[in-house]
Amino acid sequence: MSKRFERLGAEVARTQDESLDDARRRARVRRRLSDTPAPPLRPPSRAWRPALGLILAAATAAAVLMLWPSAMRPIAYRVDDGEPSSAVGRLIVAPDNRSVPVRFTDGASVDLMPGAQANVSELTPAGATLQLERGVATVSVRHRKATRWSVRAGPFLVRVTGTRFRVGWNPPERAFDLEVLEGEVRVSGPGTPEQAVRGGAGLRVVPQSEIGAEPPEPKLKPSPARGEQAAATERARPPQIKARASSVRPPAQALELNLPPKQPAPVEGSVAPGRPPTPRTEAPDAQVENESEDEPETSATEQPLDPWIALFERGSYELALAELSPEEIERALWHADAGDLMELGAAARHAQDRRAGYIYSVIRSRFAGTEAAAEAAFMLARMYFHSGAPQMAATWLETYLREQADGRFAREAAGRLVEAHVQADDDTRARAAAERYLERYPDGPHATLARSVLE
């Protein structure tokens, strides 16, 4: 076979050589080199120098280790692929187009979702405290004898011993979201005693009262099981935010009720998911509805509409992405319903807008446990798949299948899972996925691939 590769390679080389005839690129580099100041010459290497350095470093490290037991050393962390750090209070910002991993030396990890900001506010030998300034973070902490890990999000404190959970904090709206994926955490907040939240459950706290009213009451809501449409609808409802002293924005919910019922936007192929019941066309809050019926025109004329509302009403999601400011987009993300956000995400994906990942991450956080959240996972999988990251795609596909085993994308997700493992050269998982696929969909579009994997 290598002879064939050699001939193929020679043919490729001949074709490539044509482009090498063009000397313009070399001329540009030659000019750049002559414009670049001569770098200082590094001295000749001496083989013994690094060796001596290593010996000295090892001796010093051994001495430090003997004098300073590891149990006494605070843990450290690494952001992205950066250097290990023990810095406290330094802001870590995840850009809008990707998540940022933070790995701790005790095995804990935090993934800041796109747009999230956080800092490590405390490092101890037993753990750390993460201050989530805004956005969504997925936290995974390994259980040990004396683990002391916590996450602060606004006035809320999440204490962790060993678990995996997703936490979100939206400062402008003071909205707190928690989804415990495994284990148990203990949460406390203003005016609320500490309470346990176990795996599979979620917690959402949103301010519900008028100016000067009492602090928000956390409501513990278990993640809805599949088919529990009522619970899903409840979770998919936008935060029940009314006017607050700190907000100059009009009460969005009341204004939305003044608008005519929205015509559903056309669904684009298989991308746009089923739209959960839209709260604004229902009566989510009797008091608000009555207010809007009493004074519909007054509130509509006195309070300018947030621009995203009008754009979403018209189904102009591409326009929204193009014209809304980052702050307006942010408000939309934390107020719009799941259906609108899925369509916004689809528009972003089609436009290759890097905010698509962030949009789907917000959907996962805000509407955890709903069909929309699962479909956001499926969309994230597709995006990772097309960006050449099959392992990440596989993770999200598995998430979708776990959350929507009989969902409308289940067959495609199962097939793509086989593809993703194959692309990742993970034969064991590919075989397992292929077996599962053939068991459920022996005549499915990925059946041929699945059989070839098992051969």
Partner: protein, 221 residues
């Protein structure tokens, strides 16, 4: 005749091998002078180094990375690194091999960086499809694009092994030296790259796979 040998007579005295040896010695001597000039901070030396090896380094980068918008920056990077580290080159006669290793090292770094970024960034990388300009036939251009589409999915070390051995046409020891690994390791990489290339082609470009296996164009089946 005045007793001196004519050029043709001299040439006939020299067999092919000794001519090759002469060229090599001249080359070594040229490299030694070049390194000396660089170490002496000769203002023209960096341009001379680029003139001597710019095209070679560019070719190696193209072999490994294909048509790529980063080639120009990487070419620049190789020479900036070479100029900064020329003091560490112990044997000036090995300048070419040293530059080759540096080029492969930088190309590998670029491939690994992209692989890491692919995990984080949702959009496709900035690698552009192979589409060489020039007079090559459409089917040849198509072949080039398809080969690199498969190579892009290979692990960096496997892609480098494939490119150096089959596209650049290095011998196994040369390619191992260029990759900075032992001959045994390189052979392992190459074997893995063969398998990976075929497996990937089978999944993503079945026509290329079939052609590779069956077409007489690439040798007897």
């Amino acid at each position: 005749m005045d007793g001196q040998m004519s050029v043709s007579e001299v040439m006939s005295e020299l067999d092919r091998e000794s001519l090759g040896q002469l060229a090599k010695e001249e080359h070594v001597s040229h490299d030694a002078m070049l390194v000396e000039s660089l170490r002496a901070d000769d203002p023209d030396a960096s341009a001379a180094l680029f003139d001597a090896y710019g095209q070679y380094v560019e070719r190696l980068l193209v072999r490994v990375l294909g048509r790529d918008p980063e080639i120009e920056d990487l070419l620049h990077e190789v020479f900036v690194e070479a100029l900064a580290n020329i003091g560490q080159l112990r044997d000036p006669a090995k300048l070419k091999g040293w530059l080759t290793r540096m080029t492969v090292f930088i190309a590998r770094g670029s491939l690994r960086r992209r692989r890491r970024q692919a995990w984080l960034v949702f959009l496709p990388g900035d690698e552009v499809p192979e589409q060489p300009s020039g007079s090559s036939a459409p089917e040849t251009r198509d072949l080039l694009a398809r080969v690199f589409a498969v190579l892009r999915k290979l692990r960096p070390n496997h892609r480098i092994a494939f490119s150096l051995r089959y596209i650049e046409g290095m011998t196994l020891p040369e390619a191992a030296e260029a990759s900075g690994v032992s001959l045994a390791t390189f052979k392992r990489w190459l074997k893995a790259s063969d398998h990976a290339f075929l497996a990937r082609a089978k999944r993503t470009d079945h026509a290329l796979y079939q052609e590779l296996l069956e077409s007489p164009r690439w040798g007897a089946p």
